[in-house]
């Protein structure tokens, strides 16, 4: 009897310990709600209804420049931006793979800017993409592909190993959003209304080598294959961000790849005039990203492009879905006013 009681006690203690450990992990992990909100974008997708015909993948050039709400408003296109800061091409691949477990879109739009990077840029960016992603085989593989030398898999599994030093930086936000989260994007689009005009065009430095790395092509091929396997049309784009400079040599390589693989490629830098982007008004950080007005112009243009070139459903004619989107649009309009 005494032994049974002891075993029960031990089990209870262990369960409580695991619970405390779990809570500490949650408490110390950044919440990305009011500061570095980019870190919460990946997870917001999980709460969405999964009926998107267009999925965007890529770095900040997608989440800052393309507004799915505008695509819907203009042409009834349902879309979602699975973008994140400095998203590497291997991260885009695994994110797409994860997305396909939830839904099969008609079009995947990949922003090719990340082709210029052949290795992870920083741990902080890895964290912004990975921290809030749901655990899956894709997340595990993405961590393995993304980790810098000083990073460890265990610190992703147990965030306390990475964020324990936040014990003196905890704020009200850490308690408020311990289990809760708030939406700070619209279908993955991050609104920014600020205006910081592009005053001088950045000086273009010559590079020693313009050739994309093998690893980038390897993952581009994988993205292409994944789309083909799922009967999805892949669309390559280059968003109209003025810097980092998109070299002609880069463009030529993407053109060639697109041509060889019968994939469409749109470089929006060539269509700035046509779209009507004015870098004295339409950017919030001197040309690196578009602000709300710039993103709206680009999204309107892109909605027309998509409608003209692909067979997409106009969901405004589907009452059930339109009701959902009208509610979202109402909120969106309030926020952008």
């Amino acid at each position: 009897m005494k032994t049974i009681k002891r075993i029960i006690n031990v089990i209870v203690i262990l369960v409580i310990a695991i619970l405390i450990f779990y809570l500490l992990n949650k408490l110390l992990m950044p919440k990305y709600m009011t500061d570095l909100v980019e870190g919460s974008m990946i997870s917001q997708y999980y709460d969405e209804e999964k009926n998107h015909e267009v999925i965007f993948i890529g770095d900040c050039e997608v989440y800052a420049n393309f507004s799915p709400m505008v695509l819907y408003q203009e042409k009834g296109i349902t879309s979602y931006v699975r973008g994140s800061s400095q998203q590497m091409i291997w991260q885009s691949y695994y994110l797409l793979k994860e997305t396909l477990k939830y839904e099969i879109p008609k079009i995947v739009v990949f922003n090719v800017n990340s082709m210029r990077y052949s290795e992870p840029v920083s741990e902080a960016y890895n964290r912004l993409t990975l921290d809030k992603m749901k655990w899956s085989k894709e997340k595990y593989d993405m961590i393995k592909a993304s980790m810098l030398d000083e990073e460890t898999m265990t610190s992703y599994i147990f965030p306390i190993l990475r964020y324990h030093d936040r014990f003196d930086k905890l704020t009200k936000e850490d308690i408020e959003y311990l289990f809760d989260k708030k939406k700070n994007t619209y279908q993955g689009f991050l609104i920014n209304k600020e205006i910081k005009p592009l005053e001088n065009k950045p000086v273009v430095k010559k590079l020693a080598n313009y050739q994309f790395a093998d690893i980038d092509y390897e993952y581009l091929e994988k993205i292409k294959d994944l789309c083909e396997e799922n009967n999805i049309k892949l669309l390559l784009i280059k968003a109209p961000s003025v810097y980092p400079h998109w070299y002609d040599e880069y463009d030529a390589q993407i053109e060639k790849f697109a041509e060889e693989n019968h994939i469409n490629f749109v470089n929006f830098l060539d269509k700035v005039g046509e779209i009507g982007i004015d870098y004295s008004q339409d950017t919030y950080d001197r040309g690196l990203h578009l602000n709300l007005t710039g993103a709206t112009k680009l999204s309107k243009y892109f909605a027309t492009y998509l409608k003209e070139n692909y067979e997409l459903t106009d969901y405004r004619e589907n009452k059930e879905i339109d009701d959902i989107y009208q509610k979202k649009l109402e909120q969106y309009m309030k926020e952008i006013m």
Binding site: R6, N9, V10, I13, L14, A17, I20, F21, L24, L28, E123, E150, E151, T152, T154, S155, I160, L161, R162, H164, D165, F167, D168
Partner: protein, 450 residues
């Protein structure tokens, strides 16, 4: 390999598991295989050096035992000691060998094998005939990284013992000791390291009061770092029921430098006492010779740490001799003075450039700008919350160290559930308040390099 790393934890866990499931007679050999594998993982070069030291002293031990001729015995002893000592000096100071990896723990195992060979020469015990068992004495992996310098006759009875049954109480105390060591290292020592790095990073700005602040903090850091590592070694060995000697005994409660060295790095002090001081004549040859012997021992002790620490060793020797004639009638005053002397002399560890260390010591007496220290204490790399954690953790460490026996006795009588709660709490506290991980580069122990 770092003693407080995830990989080390896994190695220890596997070792303990395998150690208790293999047949009795296989236990020492299992430990040897794991130790060799551990050493191989550090590279082939270090393995060759430790094998060389082990084989030469193993053969010398057997030869010494079989020879009766005193001259031949002296020659064998001298050749073995010089050969191993030379390798230590050459490798540690990188004389002629710039590209060779200095074997981990070379200072510790070299002193161990020399003590073994000297003891055999003095017929203290019989030479070990079983090569594998002798290798285990020289290569037992936990103490290779940080010591202590174990005597053959102290450690081998439990190291070679095969009749061991799993003992949950030993495992608990071993685990608790490991956790206490990790706590000292990660919560206290590594936190202080942040402050030390800031102060040493700008020697023009941080002088005088800042230098003294660094010296006082470093006293705590090096103690928590070194003794923390030893706690891990002793704790893990306790789990395996192997008795490793204690290397510290409240050193900062010493009333003079002589007492300090009886309480600090005890295995090294004892080694110098038995194999240098006493053979030189010890205190039996008059005052002058005794004093010279003391200074020789301390210079050699400094040299053991590295050539740049010779002055540090010599000064300790001088203060030890002064302490014999100058002392106050008040215990507390003597303790404070001893602590201050030891702390100021740590300057040679904080600023390994001897000239710079001397300048910093001088600045304490010439540029004592305590107001600047008070104004800038918040900008030295630690937040207020971190200072509070540091102060509480340091107090906890010294209270426990001072009342270890009483506290352990109290814990001993507690129910297993309480012991479990204690262990889990310690782990959680270390996980949250430890200083480790990305952006922090002081995971190695200070005494790994010696």
């Amino acid at each position: 390999m770092n003693l407080v790393s995830g990989i080390m934890f896994v190695i220890m866990l596997i070792t303990a598991f395998v150690y208790y499931i293999v047949p009795k007679k296989a236990k020492p050999y299992t430990l040897l295989i794991i130790s060799i594998a551990f050493y191989i993982s550090l590279g082939w070069q270090p393995l060759i050096f430790i094998l060389f030291s082990s084989i030469t002293t193993y053969i010398a031990g057997i030869l010494l035992e079989n020879k009766e001729n005193k001259t031949i015995k002296k020659i064998i002893l001298a050749i073995t000691v010089i050969l191993n000592g030379l390798i230590l000096v050459i490798l540690k100071n990188r004389i002629f060998v710039k590209d060779i990896i200095v074997p981990m723990g070379i200072s510790y195992y070299t002193f161990q094998v020399i003590s073994y060979i000297a003891d055999i020469y003095k017929k203290k015990y019989e030479a070990q005939k079983n090569l594998a068992k002798y290798f285990l004495y020289t290569m037992y992996f936990p103490y290779l990284s940080i010591g202590p310098i174990n005597r053959y006759n102290d450690i081998t009875p439990t190291l070679y013992e095969t009749d061991k049954k799993f003992n949950s109480s030993q495992v608990f105390y071993g685990l608790l000791r490991i956790l206490f060591g990790i706590f000292k290292k990660l919560v206290v020592a590594n936190r202080i390291q942040i402050l030390i790095a800031t102060i040493t990073g700008d020697t023009n700005t941080y002088q005088g009061a800042f230098a003294l602040f660094a010296m006082l903090l470093y006293s705590i850091e090096i103690y928590c770092d070194f003794s923390g590592g030893i706690d891990v070694v002793i704790g893990f060995s306790k789990i395996l029921q192997i008795k490793v000697m204690e290397n510290f005994n409240n050193p900062y409660s010493s009333e003079n430098i002589q007492e300090f060295w009886r309480r600090w790095h005890i295995s090294l002090s004892n080694w110098f006492r038995d194999y240098v001081y006493i053979p030189l004549g010890g205190s039996r040859c008059g005052n002058l010779r005794t004093n010279i012997n003391v200074l020789i021992v301390f210079i050699l002790s400094g040299l053991w740490h590295g050539t740049q620490y010779i002055l540090w060793g010599l000064l300790h020797g001088i203060f030890l001799l002064l302490g014999k004639v100058i002392k106050t009638p008040w215990k507390i005053v003597n303790r404070v003075i001893t602590f201050l002397i030891v702390s100021i002399l740590w300057a040679f560890f904080i600023w390994p450039n001897t000239v710079q260390a001397c300048q910093m010591i001088a600045s304490v007496f010439t540029r004592f700008n305590y107001q600047a220290l008070i104004q800038n204490i918040g900008s030295l790399g630690l937040s207020l919350a971190n200072y509070i954690v540091l102060i509480i953790a340091t107090i906890m460490v010294f209270i426990y160290e001072g009342k270890k026996k009483v506290i352990n006795e109290k814990i001993k009588n507690k129910a297993p559930e309480i012991k479990l709660i204690l262990t889990i709490s310690a782990i959680l506290i270390i996980l949250v308040f430890g200083v480790y991980g990305i952006g922090f580069d002081a995971s190695q122990f200070i005494y790994n390099k010696f």
